[in-house]
Amino acid sequence: MRDESTGPIFVVDDDPNQRMILEHWLSREGYDVVLLESGEACLEALGEELPAAICLDLNMPGFGGMNTLEHVHEHNPILPVIVLTSDDAVDSVVKAMRLGARDYLTKPLDQTKLLTTMANAVEVGRLAMRVSQLEREAEGRGYPGIVGNSAPMKAVFRQLDRLCVSDVTVLIHGESGTGKELIANAIHANGSRARGPFVAVNLAAVPETLMESELFGHEKGAFTGAINRRIGRFEEANKGTLFLDEIGELSPQVQVKLLRVLQERTFQRVGGSAKLSSDFRLVTASHRDLEEEMRQGRFRQDLYFRFAVFELDLPPLRARRDDIPALSRAFVRQLGDGRVENVSTAALQIMMAYDWPGNIRELQNLIQRALVVCNGKEIQPEDFPERMRNAVPASSSVEAPAELAEFNDTTLEDYSRRLVTNALTKHEGNASAAMRELNIGRTRFYRMLKKFGLEGKIEELRQVK
């Protein structure tokens, strides 16, 4: 069965018939398919979604297949690309394979060959990702500067592994002090844009009147005090990563401006007329619950979806208590002068019981304070403030609410299977009517049929009719 965690297949071809046929074959096999009509559309989509593989026509007008392949391979080196070409274009196949194409298929396509090649490509991509994860885990490596060996942090590292080999836009959620900028920096430093700049902007710290100038720059004389031309953060981030922190603090006016720039991909300096563009990867973060902000009408939904292509949740420190000893030792080494060497067991017990509302930043501040007052080689409980010493051990047991008990023996898969079967039976095997009833697309519908072994159901019901 297909791994549900992998992304869709991008089909990039300027020929609508070819796109239609590829979608038909691939969706019946259970793949999610995204259809794109040009190389330009493919590159834009790569900033918005992480595919499992790309099916790319080489013969396209505009930016063309070959340039697209080169760009994809540069920013997503382990993403498998299968190129499609005419049977008389041997030279371009050779060039494409040199540029990093995983495989090639000649038109007219053969269904069996397409599906075999696609299955291989997706598997190779998945394995390449897994190998890099296992190598990192086997070497005990995390990401430089990020301390963590707990299960929640291992999950974060696995997501980082995927993000670092792509160019997708990322939205990081996490409470204050969980290390959002550190993670954004890791995405930059371990990706294809590492040689470019990492430009971080804390939007909460920029006065609204200066926001436009900060982000897009200004020309000399654009406003009182603009004595020189200034390059904005968007321009500064060219070829690198732009990290916008605290996007939940953006005013409605700035949200509109930002949305327009992200849609049009061009901007102007304040007081300038030239349309500028910048090639950057966008990573954003917020400590606020942006979905709640949207419900309250304080955050634009369209802007949220521009940011939230890939969402990464950073756990609060209380959810990764196993990391507290290692984090404490790291801070003692990093912040101390060598006089204090460690944290005592008694002090650690208190730290493990505390709930850390301020997360890692609070831990860091606590260690810094303790290092000042500590008289021995190890930090002791008395080096902590009074409120810490009185910390009550946090409860770890979580029980499901009683009203959900009836669902205990039923899986989501069971329910989905029943829904699909009911819809098909109700409409006597009419797939289109069943899709409408379930309010899902063709690709997803066929994928569910395959997953639940219901492929023969349509024919069976039609015969009964």
Binding site: D14, N17, Q18, P108
Partner: protein
């Protein structure tokens, strides 16, 4: 060359579902051919030929595939008389397929 009246039924079962969309694309692109020739836009004509060369075969339309190949080759060579003749044959095929617009 004669074409069986029931050619639609000969299309493989797997492709029946796609036939209406394919024919829509064929009709809309065919409607542009004469104008493109008038403008001598051989690049676009070659692209249309190239695209249908690749997809006609899936629907069992061998003759359309051959004409598409000819359209691509003659357009790439900038051979206007040959392109014109190919487009005439193409339109005649649409009539036989009962896809030509009513005059």
């Amino acid at each position: 060359m004669s074409l069986q009246n029931n050619w639609r039924e000969q299309v493989a079962p797997d492709f029946q579902e796609l036939l209406p969309d394919f024919l829509n694309n064929l009709q809309s692109e065919s409607a542009r051919l004469a104008r493109l020739l008038q403008r001598a836009d051989f690049g676009e004509l070659a692209r249309i030929g190239h695209n249908f060369k690749g997809s006609a075969g899936y629907f069992g339309l061998t003759e359309l595939g051959q004409l598409s190949r000819a359209l691509e080759l003659h357009s790439k060579a900038g051979d206007k008389p040959a392109v014109r003749a190919t487009i005439e044959a193409w339109q005649a095929l649409l009539v036989r397929l009962e896809l030509a617009p009513e005059r």
